[in-house]
Amino acid sequence: MANMNMIQALNSAMDIMLQRDPSVVLMGEDIGYFGGVFRATEGLQRKYGEHRVIDTPIAEGGIVATAIGMGVNGLRPVAEIQFADYIYPGFDQIVSELARIRYRSAGEFFAPVTIRTPCGGGIRGGQTHSQSPEGIFTHVSGIKVVMPSNPHDAKGLLITSIEDDDPVVFFEPKRLYNGPFDGDPNKPAVPWSSHPKGEVDEGYYKVPLGKADIVRAGADVSIITYGTMVYVAAAAAAAMNVDAEIIDLRSLVPLDVDVICSSVRKTGRCIVAHEATRFSGFGAELLSIVQEECFWDLEAPIQRVTGWDTPYPHAFEWEYFPGQARVAMALKTVMESV
């Protein structure tokens, strides 16, 4: 066991997989000699060689396409897209190709590609360094979508994703790289060293995809969320003295419908929360599933807590970010309504 922040945990996962499996290669912009703009691949090129930790041209479409070709040729590429905001040039190769190769070739060809990319706001990154596009990928059949909320899960989920023979888009909430964040920018930053999930096994271990984590058991309301919002929701509920059951999905596709539904059946109230914009965001799918599965158990309408339906505005970060106040308003509504 060692203390790791999320970057170190991700680095450890890739280090271990490069070590264990000669078919694993890393690729991306600035990830090699430099170790990545967030340092996630630091030291790995020196350790495993330039041909296994590969600097690439600045062409997300080319990165995904060549990763697919490598995957078809027996490698397990882990491609980094420097910011999730920059994944769109690779969108066609992800949606039209990566997601469909197994299907259209009746299982004869497949590309076990993992795409890592930092997402989310709270870092003064403005509209092109703060996006949360995960919802779009959950609509694409054939891709798994993962988002960890802490170092322990990040490492175990990344190892599982790399070993998975299906393509995985792995979103990393960059605001959580250095510590949990409860949505209050005025509080001093808390490091992972002071958080139990910052205790990470140095060896090989997996966290399964499709298994949500009940971060906190509670009786009053179920808060279904993932990524940064796990901490914001917990803090808001605690501040309001609401006995909330907080569910960290960890993987959006596949989705742990059982844990979600048994929780809502128990509490009868539900909030879904994410940083991403609201309209047609993943929260809509979560709300829909809960409504379909737990309609008769609901004592109040399900509430959504999300970012606003605008680009992420540089100067209004904290008015935009779905912080504790926004969760609190939803909690009030969902608890009061009868």
Binding site: T66, I68, M70, Y103, R104, F109, D166, P254
Partner: protein
């Protein structure tokens, strides 16, 4: 619309629209044998002229001339002729089958048979092919049974795609032929990635990919050339310039200002332009490029200059946008006739043998079709189990797809119920 008069926008125009006389004067030709053959490890920057000239081996008399003559054994040439002829006869029959409603869609490669056949023969079985939808010659030259191809066209119980792909979107894992995509050009950079992996693993297989000149406008063409150049990947990137992209003339893909092969040197990779209807020239150029790739001399961009003699597909009617029978004016002739003439000149072939082979191959196509239809047709016989629709989306079927599969089953069985209710409704 004052704009009309004053517009300064340049717009390329094709050689001939319906009713006009085709003028192929825009095609830069070199005489057979005229283009020198550089050393296989020449640097891209030192052989730029190859991307502007046109490598040709067969002259008008059908003789093989010049430094690019691959000096193939006649038996090899006969095999090439056979593959090309089979490709054409297969296309003929499938086209008629589509017209007869026996398959839903088809794409012919009429006039372009030499491209796929000669290139496939110049490569090794371990080399990975990333084709477009107009490379059926690759499938045939790699020995994929016609029956397998036909079953795919029929989406029947032996369909290699399990009913999931449009006709002609073949693949063959054992044949090292990648799954064909409906999305243009996506395979081009994938082939480069495959080749990069071969290099990373220290294997000496290469990858080859094909796109049309129209598809070279897609971003993935750029991705392929760039990554191939940066990593000097062992890959052969082929642009089949058959002059048309559905109704769009090659000028709209940039062919008016410069050859497609010339893009290669721009990215620092070798570019070479070859007579796409000259079996020997294609074979020689591909061998040269393959040797470059295998010896670490880098990737090659090959432009194959040919003509799409038929419609784009069974959904297309070229009479709407180009001159009728314009392909008869195509300066580079027909690839099958040219190789046939060459073989006859060598005393290694005859009209009689050609007729015999034609008859034999027509019979092969016919018997294969008979066999293929025994595994199901669009209207009769066994059908694929619709449960297959839910498989292979992921390696294991997740819960939500199992559930949807069950709903689909219920829906199918429920249909009857719904129908009777309909009648009920009508009675009221």
């Amino acid at each position: 619309m004052g704009m009309n008069k004053h517009s300064r926008l340049h717009l390329p125009s094709p050689p001939a629209r319906p009713g006009e006389a085709p003028d192929f004067g825009y095609v830069d030709l070199s005489a057979a044998g005229a283009v020198p053959r550089p050393d296989i490890n020449a640097r891209a920057r030192d052989i730029v002229s190859l991307s502007l000239d046109l490598v040709r081996v067969l002259d008008d008399a059908g003789e093989a001339v010049g430094p690019w003559n691959p000096h193939l054994d006649p038996s090899e040439l006969q095999i090439g002729l056979r593959h090309m002829l089979l490709t054409r006869l297969f296309d003929d029959r499938m086209q008629r089958n589509q017209r007869a409603g026996k398959i839903s869609f088809y794409i012919r490669s009429l006039g372009e048979e030499a491209v796929s056949v000669a290139q496939c023969m110049a490569l090794r079985p371990g080399d990975m092919l990333f084709p477009s939808y107009r490379n059926q010659g690759l499938q045939i030259a790699r020995g994929i049974p016609l029956v397998d191809l036909m079953c795919q066209l029929l989406s029947n119980t032996r369909d290699m795609c399990k009913g999931r792909q449009l006709p002609v979107m073949y693949h063959s894992k054992p044949g090292n032929i990648f799954s064909i995509s409906g999305n243009l050009a996506t395979q081009f950079p994938q082939a480069v990635g495959w080749a990069m992996a071969a290099a990373i693993k220290g294997e000496d297989h290469l990858a080859a990919s094909w796109i049309g000149e129209g598809s070279s406008a897609e971003a993935d063409f750029h991705h392929a050339l760039l990554f191939a150049s940066v990593y000097q990947a062992p890959v052969i990137l082929n642009v089949v310039n058959n002059q048309w992209a559905i109704s769009t003339f090659q000028g709209y893909a940039g062919g008016e200002q410069r050859s497609f092969a010339a893009r290669g040197p721009g990215y620092g990779i070798a570019g070479i332009r070859v007579d796409g209807n000259d079996f020997l020239a294609i074979y020689a150029v591909t061998t040269w490029a393959a040797e470059r790739a295998r010896t670490g001399a880098g990737p090659t961009l090959i432009e194959l200059v040919t003509y799409r003699a038929a419609a784009h597909s069974t959904s297309d009617d070229p009479a709407r946008y180009r001159a009728k029978n314009d392909h008869e004016h195509w300066p580079l002739g027909d690839p099958i006739l040219r190789l046939k003439q060459h073989l006859i000149g060598l005393g290694e072939w005859s009209e009689a043998r050609h007729q015999a082979m034609t008859a034999e191959l027509e019979a092969l196509v016919a018997s294969s079709w008979k066999q293929a239809t025994s595994f199901g047709t669009m209207s009769e016989g066994p059908r694929l189990d619709s449960d297959l629709m839910f498989e292979d989306v992921f390696k294991e079927m997740p819960a939500h797809l199992q559930r949807q599969r069950d709903l689909m089953r219920a829906e199918k069985s429920g249909l009857e119920g719904a129908r009777s209710e309909t009648t009920g409704a009508e009675e009221t």
